[in-house]
């Protein structure tokens, strides 16, 4: 009997420990959902807490895909778990339209200087002219290349490279025996993974995802041409394992000297140029993203921003933090504590005007240029019913993009012909769109 009592007591004790652990929440606590990119913001937020002693910040940090799913579940069920969310260019207009986010631009103080925030980025985060989130990170895409290898081949990178140039350069730098592959591109399936890049390729070759009536265009000649080009290029001059290399794997490959060319996010430039993180810091150079037949949609646009769900009970405090974390003063703070190389990129014009920033980040000018040139409202030369350069701003796109990504990866791995891959993707997309009710009218 004693043992029963002790066991029961133990259980009760543990349960109590579990229950009492919950009373840690104070009155004015803000819960923030962030990705792992926000380490600096986390650390510096102590300054915010010092200036606002009545607000306590609680952090939830998760990987991007998990975060998106977690946050979407919460916001769609009005769970109220978070007061501030990290959301991207994809979700913000959709959620703003549904009224799930608090409007940000209606009571910003003049000192915030909203106009200083780069316009394309602001457009990404607005719906119907209203701003629903403020950015703390912005990126576009451009070309990374090994200047030393290009010099050795006697070639020079033009100011506005075309994809013909890229083919030529990849061929010249491809040297598997020396452990260097001509070009590394994303191949891992995912709407934000391989299709982020592929959408830009399709755009600049003159294609588009949907026509004005929302009919998918995946079997159009432009699509066939782009995907065939991509598969051939990677088969000839790409590294093995290309069909499961995502951004991270390619970044590792480039940083360890295995790639001659890489077309990917501008945000990686900070690492590739940092001798602590990269073996090719002194050998890398940058150029704008290559163009195919038309200049539209050749560089993508992405931003991470802070938004406030309407279910929050602390709108005023949340707005205070959100304004602080994306202000000019914050950029200056980061520059002072961590250096200019790691200040939030791609958000404010002011950052790019600072001489110190230009000195610390040799790729700054190109990044700014890429962002300003990106046009999410006209990603293709043909008219389109959607916004988004490297994605389509509709809720159904995640599933569509990932399925198409799987099909193209299969083509790249040689398991399927390009034609079949596109045919499958076309059918899947049509099915999904029909079910979602796009063709009713």
């Amino acid at each position: 009997m004693q043992k029963v009592i002790t066991a029961a007591l133990a259980i009760v004790a543990v349960w109590l420990a579990g229950v009492t652990g919950t009373s840690g929440q104070q009155r004015d606590a803000l819960t923030l959902a962030l990705t792992g990119d926000s380490i600096i913001m986390q650390r510096l937020s102590k300054e915010f807490e010092k200036a606002h002693p009545d607000i306590k910040l609680n952090w939830v940090v998760l990987e991007e895909n998990v975060l998106r799913e977690r946050v979407t579940t919460d916001i769609a069920t009005k769970g109220g778990s978070f007061d501030i969310l990290t959301i991207g260019a994809y979700e913000t207009p959709i959620w703003g339209k549904k009224g799930w986010l608090v409007r940000i631009d209606d009571d910003l103080p003049a000192s915030y200087e909203l106009d200083d925030v780069l316009k394309p980025i602001r457009d990404c985060l607005s719906y119907d002219g209203k701003l629903y989130a403020v950015p703390f990170y912005g990126e576009s895409s451009f070309t990374f290349y090994r200047k030393d290898l290009l010099d050795k081949a006697g070639l020079k990178m033009p100011d506005k490279p075309t994809y013909d140039d890229i083919t030529k350069f990849a061929k010249a730098m491809h040297n598997p025996k020396a452990g260097v592959y001509g070009i590394c591109l994303r191949g891992k399936p995912g709407w934000g993974e391989n299709f982020a890049y592929l959408s830009t390729l399709v755009n600049t070759m003159g294609g588009r995802w949907f026509d004005e009536k929302w009919k998918p265009q995946l079997t159009s000649p432009e699509w066939k041409e782009s995907i065939t080009y991509y598969v051939d290029l990677m088969k000839k001059y790409g590294p093995p394992g290309a069909s499961s290399n995502g951004h991270n794997e390619n970044r590792a490959l480039f940083a360890t000297g295995k790639c001659g060319l890489w077309i990917d996010a501008t945000s990686a430039a900070g690492y590739i140029s940092n001798p602590k993180d990269s073996q090719v810091a002194d050998k890398v150079a940058y150029a704008v993203a290559p163009v195919g037949k038309v200049p539209n949609g050749a560089q993508w646009l992405w931003t991470w921003a802070l938004g406030i769900p309407t279910s929050t009970k602390h709108v005023k405090e949340a707005k205070a933090f959100v304004q602080w974390a994306t202000s000019k003063e914050y950029v200056q703070l980061v520059a002072k504590t961590d250096g200019w190389t790691v200040v939030p990129p791609g958000t404010r014009r002011w950052t790019y005007d600072q001489a110190e920033y230009q000195a610390a980040a040799p790729f700054a000018k190109l990044t700014l240029q890429a962002i300003l040139q990106a046009d999410p409202i006209h990603p293709s030369a043909k008219p389109v019913p959607y916004t988004g350069v490297q994605f389509v701003g509709i809720p159904e796109f995640q599933a569509i993009g990932t399925y198409a990504g799987q099909q193209v990866a299969a083509a790249l791995a040689g398991k399927e012909s390009v034609g079949k891959a596109l045919q499958n993707s076309q059918e899947f997309t049509e099915r999904t769109m029909k079910r979602a009710g796009y063709y009713k009218k």
């Binding site: 093995p240 599933a399 040689g414």
Partner: protein
């Protein structure tokens, strides 16, 4: 030869006595777990069934309505469904084979007395401690990567061509990863079961002249029949819902080569936020799992009551 060590049929009088006086008692003992599981399983199950007949997309929560079997129709006409189910069965089957087969051998091995047995056992069990996501990442990037991975390096140094695991053998790669993780589970359970084997019986058999092979087949293996049954049932449970490893490494690709049913459902549930479709998928998964369970039970059931 066997005088039954653990007879389920106790001498008649005791059993009758237990039944008479003990009936209420056993019911009370079983009641909490049964009730709890009833609540836990029925409520979500009922809700899932309900949702599977509705149009309910989290991103468009205003559009609700009864859809009849349209969700199921959509699911069953998904061209990837057959592949997903087949892959699920392949994955479960192969991992079971490897873990139970190898697990039995390892259990016998680790039952023997050798130097540093304690430490070696912990090392053997360790793979089960690691989070599936992490082990998948370690396997993918540090070991199996065709350019930067350790395997590539080793193959390269002996002049063999490197294997592009995730392009050419995606399901095999996943099977290897999952089997590595679950082998300790099987080995541990079987080892514990072997330890329960009466040493006197082993001695008697040895004195009768039984060598290690006949010992294995006639004493150990029959004794392990029930634990193996349990291992198979429990492992299949988890193996039918493998998700993290696929998500992290291949995202179900290339094409649908490594997509299993949970991953397919994930695409509905968490990419589409299509609760209706995902629920239909969930119901389908339960049906499939029950089919597998019935099949397993047939082969394993005898051992349960033995």
């Amino acid at each position: 030869m066997e005088t039954a060590a653990a007879p389920a049929n106790a001498p008649a009088p005791a059993r009758r006595a237990a039944r008479r006086g003990g009936r209420d008692k056993t019911l009370l003992l079983k009641l909490p777990s049964v009730l709890l599981l009833l609540a836990w399983s029925t409520i979500p199950l009922a809700m899932t069934l309900w949702f599977s007949f509705q149009r309910y997309n989290l991103l468009n929560p205003e559009e609700r309505g009864f859809l009849g079997i349209e969700n199921y129709h959509f699911l069953l006409t998904d061209t990837g469904l057959a592949t997903a189910i087949w892959n699920t069965l392949l994955l479960v089957g192969w991992v079971l084979l490897v873990t139970v087969g190898l697990g039995t051998l390892l259990a016998v091995l680790f039952d023997q007395d050798f130097f540093g047995r304690g430490v070696a056992r912990v090392l053997l069990i360790a793979p089960f401690f690691v989070m599936p996501t992490v082990s998948a990442l370690v396997w993918k990037n540090l070991l199996m990567h065709p350019v930067n991975g350790l395997f590539a390096f080793l193959l390269h140094s002996v002049g063999l061509p490197t294997i592009d695991w995730f392009a050419d053998l995606p399901l095999t790669a996943i099977i290897i990863m999952v089997a590595w993780q679950w082998l300790p589970f099987a080995a541990l359970i079987l080892l514990t079961a072997i330890q329960a084997l009466d040493p006197e019986r082993k001695e008697a058999a040895r004195m009768d002249g039984a060598g290690p092979i006949s010992m294995f087949f006639f004493i150990i293996l029959p004794h392990l029949a029930r634990p193996i049954g349990v291992v198979v049932m429990i492992e299949s449970l988890f193996l039918m819902s493998i998700f993290a490893e696929i998500f992290v490494t291949t995202s179900g690709g290339p094409g649908l080569a490594s997509t299993n049913l949970p991953f397919l459902i994930y695409r509905y549930a968490l990419l589409d936020f299509d609760v209706g479709g995902a629920s239909a998928g969930g119901v389908l998964a339960i049906v499939l799992a029950n089919v597998v369970a019935i099949f397993l039970m047939r082969s394993v059931a005898r051992n349960l009551e033995a």
